[in-house]
């Protein structure tokens, strides 16, 4: 069997490793438009503050060699069809199975001046290099977007000594992943350290000569800056798939085996659209944990070992200025039918919000104290009916033993991670 993986991020790497583990003799080719792709995108913000940040390498430099993978680096896949992938140098590769793991790219708003020097998205090592090269001539920066990435960039720039403004279209920080209470905790942390935070207003233009000099705001206001970092989400790289006639919505639609509408062609990671366990809706959960897991499941199916991918789940873990937060699933329910329990103690600080839908947990925010969060994440992910454990969870008893009975009584249909563990915990 001959496999081609387009993309070398979390999903591509996980798929390749899984393929190799299951099928020692299959041919695997990875195509990446980056020359040195074996780094973690998520670690890039840690390097803004200086070279003392973490090593970006996600796998060692012998990864391809060790796994017997043919790597075509600095090459772009321009089109694909069942059984072949064509590259930007005109060559075609024949194959039995294809994985589209092309990820996404920063969504750049269509506003005047977005093409100016000093305006950058933030996703790749090349983006990092571009921004680091601009830092010596940057006194003030504007970050567009107040989500996890935007705040990571802002924190990094602040640590690097840059006066930073954050321009956020929503009324609060982290509005996609948290609620107003959690957002306001971080708002104080950032503004206490000198960040200017502008909420509820869009950037309408980037002004200046060749290089960005200020951001014009929807309310007529302005933010002077030498650098603009755009962190307003990612757009899935679906072009190849669309041209090949593969069914796409916002992302590439996949079935429970991560296969697209084209037989033998799979998709995983930030480009794939999956069903979210908390909302039940199809969505692109462009998140590292989802990408690795989807890559692993796709790789297994490509190798002929059937694996089901039931649900992805929106989840984020962040820490800014000493305050950690984990947020999962539905955290700001907009319609009725949800039961919300929230506890806030600003003195510690501690914030915990649990969102239930009937007998199921569908969302949580845990800020300040994050221990045992994964126990609850798994309940959301596996959509388990809670029974008497619901009261325990509301009372704050969330360590695994509190939910052992729930897991035991739903053991059928739960993943391998539980089966062994339940045995190991005395049956």
């Amino acid at each position: 069997m001959n496999h081609v993986i387009v993309g070398c991020g979390a999903a591509g790497i996980a798929a390749a490793e899984t393929l190799r583990r299951i099928s020692p003799s299959d041919a695997i080719t990875i195509i990446s438009d980056e020359a040195e792709p074996l780094y973690s995108r998520c670690l890039i913000p840690y390097r803004l503050a200086g070279p003392s940040g973490p090593d970006l390498a996600y796998r060692d430099e012998r990864f391809f060699e060790r796994n017997g993978i043919a790597a075509l680096l600095g090459r772009r896949a321009v089109s694909l069809a069942r059984g072949s992938v064509r590259l930007d140098d005109g060559t075609s590769i024949g194959c039995d199975r294809i994985l589209i793991a092309t990820g996404g790219r920063p969504t750049l708003p269509a506003i005047p001046g977005i093409e100016k020097q000093g305006v950058a998205g933030f996703r790749t090592r090349a983006d990092l290099a571009r921004i680091l090269a601009l830092l010596p001539t940057t006194r003030r920066a504007a970050v567009l977007g107040g989500g996890c990435i935007g705040l990571q960039v802002a924190a990094g720039l602040m640590e690097a000594g840059v006066t930073t403004s954050i321009v956020i279209a929503s009324p609060s920080l982290l509005s996609q992943v948290a609620d107003e209470t959690a957002g306001s905790l971080y708002r104080s942390l950032f503004s206490d350290r000198g960040a200017r935070i502008i909420t509820g207003v869009e950037a309408t233009a980037i002004e200046g000569d060749d290089r960005a000099a200020r951001v014009r705001l929807g309310d007529g206001g302005e933010v002077d800056c030498d650098l603009v970092v755009v962190a307003k989400g990612v757009t899935p790289n679906t072009e190849c798939a669309r041209e090949a006639g593969i069914r796409c919505r916002r992302g590439i639609v996949v079935d429970g085996t991560m296969m697209t509408s084209l037989e033998g062609v799979y998709a995983a990671g930030d480009v794939a659209e999956t069903r979210d366990a908390a909302t039940g809706e199809r969505t692109v959960n462009a998140l590292w944990p989802c990408a690795s897991e989807q890559g692993r499941v796709a790789g297994s199916n490509m190798a002929g070992v059937p694996r089901d991918y039931d649900f992805s789940l929106r989840m984020n873990a962040v820490e800014f200025f000493g305050l950690p937060m984990i947020s999962v699933g539905v955290v700001s329910p907009r319609d009725g039918g949800y039961e919300v329990h929230a506890r806030h103690d600003p003195s510690r600080p501690f914030y915990r919000k649990l969102v239930f839908r009937e007998d199921r947990l569908v969302g949580l925010i845990m800020a300040g104290e994050i221990a045992h969060a994964g126990v609850l994440t798994a309940l959301i992910r596996k959509r388990l009916p809670l029974g008497p454990a619901k009261g325990e969870i509301i009372a704050g008893r969330i360590a695994f033993p509190s939910v052992l009975d729930v897991v035991r009584s739903n053991r059928e249909g739960l993943g391998g991670e539980y089966a062994d563990a339940l045995l190991a915990l005395g049956g």
Binding site: P289, F400, E417, A424, G426
Partner: protein, 154 residues
């Protein structure tokens, strides 16, 4: 792969395992010195309450480890035996593993900004929690050995 198994019926919540684990993973590896260490040594095994009955719990070494999937730095990896382990040098303290561990078996060391979990005492013989357990509630071995032991306990 050898794992730590828990014969829950034998656990009396004495928490000897927690102390042994914290000391083993302290700087001094000596109880009387470890209690004075700052930051305080952290146990990777915890005794919890399962419906009124005690249960000692540490990393379950899942086959489809969500923690390995979630780790964005590559710190959480599989060792040669396939067991998930943390390379502390690579850990950036992003807490993604804590977000996804279904057993809540990963601790955040907030002061050092690293995640901590059971490492089977680096597989140097029998883990200290198993050695220390005075009632034989913790067992270390292959699955079959545990199944046999469990039948005897019952």
């Amino acid at each position: 792969m050898k794992r730590i198994y828990v014969a829950a019926a034998r656990c009396t919540a004495c928490r000897t395992c927690e102390i042994a684990c914290a000391v083993e993973h302290s700087l001094s590896r000596n109880l009387s010195l470890a209690i004075a260490e700052e930051p305080r040594p952290v146990a990777r095994v915890r005794v919890g309450n399962a419906g009124g009955r005690p249960l000692a719990l540490q990393c379950r070494f899942c086959e489809d480890s969500p923690c390995v999937d979630a780790c964005k730095s590559g710190a959480m990896h599989r060792d040669d035996a396939g067991a998930p382990q943390i390379d502390r040098e690579r850990c950036v303290g992003c807490w993604m593993c804590i977000m996804v561990c279904p057993f809540g078996a990963i601790e955040a060391d907030r002061s050092r900004k690293v995640a901590l979990k059971c490492d089977l005492c680096a597989a140097a013989g029998t883990p200290v929690c198993v050695e220390a357990c005075p009632t034989g509630a913790l067992l270390y071995g292959e699955r079959e050995e545990f199944v046999t032991a469990l039948e005897e306990i019952r």
